[in-house]
Amino acid sequence: MDLETFINLFLAGLTLGTVYLLMAMGLTLVYGVTKVFNYAQGSFFTWGGYLAWSLSVGILGWNYYLVIPITLVAMFIFGMVFEKAIVLPLRRLPGWDFTVIIVTLGCSLALDNLILVVFGPLSKTVPHLLEGTFNFGKYAIAKHDVIMLVIGILVFIILQLFLSKTWTGMALRAVSQDNVGAKIVGLPLNTMYSMAFGIAGLLSAVAVILLAPRTLLYPLVGWTTLLKAFVVMVLGGLGNIKGTVIAAFALSIAEIYSAFFLGGIWAMPLFLAVLVIILVFKPKGLFGSW
């Protein structure tokens, strides 16, 4: 393997890592705040991608740079509506923490197949954020990957700042740390729940916009990303930011290199094997505190 390939693979690994990181952050946030594992988050990812595609190259032909913020806002709203319409009503029922798993699975079934109905099974191509490569002497690095990495990290930093410095962000953290404590200081729990789902929707949209240009868009595209994000979440330890970051990049880089040497289809088994091994020795994840 020459240096250029090594660097490009490494970069691809880093960018993939930010995608997993953002998805994992979304999952963690939702789980921490609402205590719900959203099995339909893969569908958020897919819907975000198809929305971006339809607005730009697919149907309406709008400028992609305009489409991106529209998609982000739309998916944020989608997440909030999803929570209000589907998850919130279930909270009143007994045994809701199990029911909600079934319902989110049912939602993913409906949502994914709705995409299939509307758009058909063939893959769609999503535009790159920037075409072409940067050229350093004889090394060429894909511009898209660099931008992906920058944006991904930027979004992550903004998220962290939001969570630690703003009232709403701190409120979200408070709810995830002590539900009763949150009530007695007057936090509007229902609003926080919706917000968590909304942010997860937004993060999924960012993730798909970053990743889809490379992997193409198809109706079940969200599932593999969701599962990998889950592995990251578990490995990193629920709520442990540092752990999640490390886990995201470690796994993504491992995935890229193993795909290069062994072939892409082994990514899922690899992730699963790693997950099982880690959980056997540390049932709370690598850095878990949960």
Partner: protein
């Protein structure tokens, strides 16, 4: 006492009903096929309910056992000429063994973790099947993504079952269904079943009495895997074909819905759920691509309004029925 008598009557009545069904439908292979599928999925769903609803183990990989059983039996039939009758057992054993091996590390995990680990099997198993497909090994192939074909039908004292004659298949399947449902019922009513009800309703007390949760969970995991594997083997020999598509995400969700629709941990809810969903699934076929969207919608609505599943509705209907009877019998006396 009266309750048991009533239950016995219902069971015999249903059995009788199922036995004579072919007399009405034997002309339609389409309907006979649906009935057979209902029975096969009924066993599969009931076995899943055993681990999910009774033992409260968030195992989402149960369909994998079904597939493992199917492939094992099919491959053994193809490469070793094993008879399907033995294949059903072999498939069950293979699934059970793998279930046992997976269970040992995984059953110690907490709910959510276990759910995702077992769920990932959905995605991992097809990878292996496709990998060991045509061309990979010289004398062996799983059929890859095209699947295993020409799986032989069972041979009963010279009579070879064939898909052009579904009535014999139906009775065979019915016997298979009765056998396994009875086994499941016996397990539920046995000490193992009691242990789980104790664990479910009063965990600390049960544990202090020495109920070893892990051991029981492992046992039920292996047993329910056996049943699922056997069902899978049966399925393989019935269709003559099994492929990775048989465990696609759609199939997974539909079978899971069967279990939940019937109500978790309420015997025989899962089997009833399987019947209803199989039929609804068929009825929705004319909607083509919309079928799964609608099915997903049904799941959502069901859980919202009937979180305990079909058994809840049946129980409510039962109470309503009894109250109507009481009112009819004594219209002038005050309600007690």
């Amino acid at each position: 006492m009266v309750n048991n008598l009533r239950k016995a009557i219902i069971i015999i009545g249903l059995l009788g009903l199922f036995t004579i069904l072919p007399f009405f439908f034997h002309r339609s292979n389409y309907i006979m096929n649906i009935l057979i599928l209902c029975l096969i999925w009924g066993v599969m769903a009931a076995s899943w309910d055993l681990i999910l609803g009774y033992a409260n183990v968030f195992s989402f990989g149960h369909l994998s056992f079904f597939i493992i059983g199917g492939y094992t039996s099919g491959l053994l039939a193809e490469y070793l000429g094993l008879s399907p009758w033995l294949g059903y057992i072999a498939g069950g054993l293979a699934a059970s063994l793998i279930g046992f091996l997976i269970g040992i590390p995984c059953l110690r995990l907490q709910g959510m973790y276990l759910a995702i680990v077992t769920f990932s099997l959905q995605f991992v198993l097809p990878t292996f099947i496709v990998w060991a497909g045509p061309g990979k090994f010289e004398n062996f192939s799983t059929g890859g993504s095209w699947g295993l074909e020409r799986i032989p039908s069972p041979n009963l004292f010279g009579y070879v079952f064939t898909r052009s004659e579904l009535v014999p298949w139906y009775y065979l399947t019915l016997s298979f269904f009765v056998l396994f449902i009875s086994i499941i019922y016996i397990i539920i009513k046995s000490n193992v079943g009691l242990a789980f009800i104790a664990l479910r309703d009063a965990e600390p007390q049960a544990k202090s009495l020495g109920v070893d949760e892990y051991k029981y969970k492992l046992m039920v995991f292996a047993i329910s895997a056996f049943i699922a594997g056997s069902a899978g083997a049966y399925y393989a020999h019935y269709f003559g074909l099994i492929s990775p598509a048989s465990m696609s995400l759609d199939v997974f969700l539909i079978v899971l819905i069967m279990v939940l629709f019937g109500g978790l941990g309420v015997f025989p809810g899962a089997a009833i759920g399987a019947f209803i969903i199989t039929i609804v699934n068929e009825l929705l076929r004319p909607t083509l691509e919309w079928r799964l969207v609608i099915l997903g919608g049904i799941v959502i609505l069901t859980m919202m309004f009937m979180p305990k599943g079909v058994m809840d509705i049946l129980a409510a209907l039962g109470r309503l029925g009894r109250r109507i009877i009481k009112i009819k019998q004594a219209p002038n006396s005050a309600p007690t």
